[in-house]
Subunit: 161 residues, 2 copies
């Protein structure tokens, strides 16, 4: 579908080209944000990223982080997962390809599941009048912890399934 980049260097280069092609500016903020995202293994959210940047003494407003993430999503470098109403995560697209997400609708925990079959299915896809860029798959259910907990709870106020 689109870029398949596996290191910070080529990802940064790709982003630079993207910015140039679209007449957008290469700001320090954008560069540093992408660098930090490349260091993260797995999911991240805006607060987490903001925290990382602060920890590195790099001060950015949340607004700019949202801005940068939107840009990175347009550039197909970052992917957004809204697992539930309250659980939103982002992920480097290169890391996201080829796995699906098992989401517990009780505790909101998410487990990555690698699947060649899903990966193949996504690259095979042809859709009329539509240019696909990225696909994701979610499986909702109950994790073993919650299943156990629910089986042993008399009755929980709002969490009963």
């Amino acid at each position: 579908m689109n870029p398949d980049l596996h290191d910070a260097d080529s990802t940064g280069k790709f982003f630079d080209e993207y910015l140039t092609e679209h007449g957008l500016r290469k700001s320090t903020v954008r560069k540093v944000i992408l660098e930090h995202i490349c260091r993260i293994r797995g999911y991240f959210d805006v607060d987490m990223l903001h925290g990382m940047l602060e920890a590195d003494n790099f001060h950015v407003s949340k607004a700019s982080i949202y801005n940068a993430i939107e840009l990175l999503m347009n550039a197909c470098l970052v992917v957004r997962h809204q697992f539930t109403t309250q659980v939103v995560y982002y992920e480097l697209k290169s890391a996201a390809a080829g796995h699906l997400h098992a989401v517990c609708r009780c505790c909101g925990s998410v487990k990555e599941i690698r699947s060649d079959r899903v990966a193949r299915l996504m690259t095979d896809l042809k859709i009329a009048k539509f240019s696909p860029e990225y696909g994701s798959m979610y499986i909702y259910g109950i994790c073993s912890k919650c299943k156990y907990r629910l089986a042993h709870a008399k009755r929980q106020k709002n969490k009963q399934i």
Copy 2:
């Protein structure tokens, strides 16, 4: 994974049993909301549902609609799709099975794509320490309308891809 109901009657019956089993009450509000959902072909959201109910002279608060939908999701009768940050839809689970969703990240339009391969893949899935109940798959990209529009626009403020 779970119930595969294709008419309002059996769906209503299933819901009644679910409520009884879980020590919850069979209120008129819950019954009527499910009946209305069963009439909808395709996606719906809270406002749409509320509008339908008002049109039938059945007055319910949004809070109760949210409550009922959560219950129906727990009962695996309704499924939630958060296509983008701003685009959220619900769907009867029986209608949702076996198709995936092609979402244009430009205009937010959603197209249903039937795929036996996806359906088979979802029912085949075995995940360790996890009891799957429902799976959904999203393909993000650009629809032909937006592709055309973007190719012909000089440069659009925020929508450039």
